[in-house]
Structure formats: structure tokens, C-alpha cells
């Protein structure tokens, strides 16, 4: 029977409002604004009020999925990564690195986004990298 609020910074835009994640027995059940935080000062936008909803969403993937004959089926990480590396490699050699784009996400950590842009620029060799918050 645990209820607590953990303060965190909103993952979405660059404003940096803080809010509290309401957690009951390990399950995120809602958001309360951080009333003493200097950025938001107790206010949030609609994304902040609903930022908790994706974290434990039932639609989140639990295993890699591979599309075969139009349908998605479960796969292991090894199989999925090999397929991706194979396909990206062949697209790059056939059409050039700029045929590939990488889309980062506000739902990723800063570190993951850093890796994504490093992957796009240093591994693929393209500048085609963008982020949902820029849209």
C-alpha cells in the first residue's frame, strides 16, 4: 500500500517544467504539477498533464517484431538486429546514405538521442536526423 510522488522533468519540449509522477504500488496513476518548481510554478501544458500515460502503456512493445508477408511476428533481438543491419547496409550501398533518415524521440532519454544522432551521422553517414519536438 504505497503512494508517493516522484518529481521529474517533462520529457517533451525544451521548457523544462517539472511535475510529479503519482505512483501507487509501482504503477504510475497520474500527474500532479510541481508547485514549488521555478519553471512551471504549478502549471503544466496538456502534454505535461498526460506525460505519464506512455510509460506503462499496454501497447508498448515487449519483444522486437518483424514484418513478414504483411504481418508482424515476434523475433529475438539477434534476428531483428541482423535484419536491420543487413537492410540498412544494402540501402546505403545501393542508394547512398542520404536515402536513410533517423527520427529521434522525446520519449527517449538524452543519452539514447545522442546515440541516435551519432548513429545517423557517423555510422550511416547522413545528416537526415530529426526529433519529434522540432515539429
Amino acid at each position: 500500500m504505497d503512494y508517493s510522488n516522484t518529481q521529474t522533468i517533462c520529457p517533451f519540449c525544451g521548457c523544462g517544467c517539472a511535475f510529479n509522477l503519482e505512483v501507487v504500488d509501482g504503477e504510475i496513476v497520474g500527474v500532479l504539477p510541481a508547485n514549488d518548481h521555478p519553471v512551471g510554478r504549478g502549471s503544466l501544458c496538456i502534454k505535461g498533464w498526460n506525460a505519464h500515460s506512455f510509460v506503462q502503456h499496454e501497447d508498448r512493445l515487449k519483444t522486437p517484431l518483424i514484418r513478414e508477408d504483411g504481418d508482424l511476428r515476434e523475433a529475438s533481438w539477434e534476428e531483428a538486429l541482423e535484419l536491420v543491419a543487413d537492410k540498412l547496409g544494402s540501402i546505403k550501398s545501393e542508394h547512398g546514405p542520404d536515402a536513410i533518415g533517423v527520427l529521434a524521440s522525446a520519449k527517449c532519454t538524452n543519452e539514447e538521442n545522442y546515440l541516435l544522432q551519432k548513429f545517423a551521422r557517423a555510422v550511416i553517414g547522413t545528416n537526415n536526423v530529426d526529433h519529434c519536438a522540432r515539429l
Binding site: M1, T6, Q7, V24, L32, A34, N35, G42, S43
Partner: protein
Amino acid sequence: MIQEIRDLVSKKLKKLDGVVALRKTDQGTAPTLFQEGDDVSQLVLEPRYPVAKTVSKLQKRFKDAKFGVVARGCDTRALVEMVKRHQIDPDRLYIVGMACSEEQAETCYCAEPAPDLDPWPEADLVGDPVPGAPPNPMVAEYENLSREERWDFWNQQFTKCIKCYGCRDICPVCFCDACSLEDPLWVEPGLLVPDFPMYHLIKAMHMTTRCVACRQCETACPAGIPLTVLYDLIRKDVGNLIGYIPGADADSGPPLSLTLADAPIDSELAK
């Protein structure tokens, strides 16, 4: 006062499943459920949060538990309205009533800065109640406006709205799962600025006989819209027309759930 509250909470934790109160850590301050053995020195009294929402959430989740809550006047008023609407079980709740200071009352223009503990089977008051603060001067200014000026006033204020739903999400007496503000029939989805006056008047209408003047909505509004001016005036009208003050009397049923025969409108004032 704070030490008195901490001591009282410590004592009551031996018998209760938990007490909802504000906890301060180096991460910030927010409501938490203190349980026996927790560090009560982390219990603080500010900044304000609508703890009635937390209590309701926890009571519904843990249907046999008995909790306590550290509550201000606005919190107990909200709790009373929720009891009337079957969102709170008063027999499973112990109240640590906290009287606000004069300064706190003035910040909220609060008419009742101490909890009324009469409706509660188990409650204790900490602190000395102070008299109510003077009302928001904006309300009096507004009442001097003509009808056209009033329309312009709200039209202008509501163009600032970013439709964050914060006023609804923070409101301690808002609890519906299916909210009419999210129904495309009434409020056009994806439209910014939200269609004036639909969103705001629907919300104001739902605040009728429900708003306990806690002012959390105005605090949560990122656009600084003076929502409480509208809701204060509605409270005034409801008080004058049918003599109902939300949060005041635990026995009177919510008038919008009664028939007109039970809650007659004073026909002179209604003209």
C-alpha cells in the same frame, strides 16, 4: 504548529493504514502516504496541493483501508462535496485539520481559512482559526461592468487559454471518468483557442454547486486566467438563489441532484 501536526500524525499512524500529507525531500514537496515507521520530520505544510483528490484515489484503490489526511479548510470543503457524491467514505477517514494563517488566508482571499470539523466522525484541529480574508477585489470590479463589458472581459481572458485541461485536472471536486469537456459533441477537438464560450462555460456550469473556492484552478492555469472571479460569482448566485454553499453542510444534498420541489428557486431573484 508543524511539530504538533507531526506528533499527531506519528501517533495516529499506529492505528491508521496511512496519512496523506505533504512530504519534502531534496527532490521537492508533494503529497505522499506516510505509514508507520516513515520519517515524519519530512512532513511539511506547503505548498498547497488538492489532497482531497489523493484521498479519493487511495480510498477507491484500497477499499478496506482507513487513512488520515492533513487538511486545510478548502480540503475539508472539497471532501464534504465528494462525500455527498459518493467519492469519499467518511467512516474510513480521519482528519488532521490545519488552520491557515492570516497570510495564507489573504493569498487565497479565503472566507473560511480553517476546516469545519463538524461533519467528520474523527477529526482534530491544529492551530488557531483566523477570520476570513477580504474577497478578491477583481470580483467587485467585475460586478460594475456592463453586460457587454463582461462578455468582452471573458472573451479576452479566454483567448489566452491553451486548453491544457489543468483547471479540470487539478480541481478537487472533478472526478468524472467521462468528461463532457472531452466530448466532441460539446467541445471541438484539436481547436486552439478553444471555442469561446463553450469549453469555459461548460466547465463553469459543472462547477455550479460544486466549487469550494480552493483556487487551485487559477494557480494551475499557465495563462493566468482569473477563473475564480467567474466561479466566485457563480457561488454567490447559487448561495442567493437556492441558499446552497458547497462544502458547508454535510447533510444537504447537492441541489442539482434534487428535484425543484426539494430545492425551490427564489423566483424574484431569478428574474
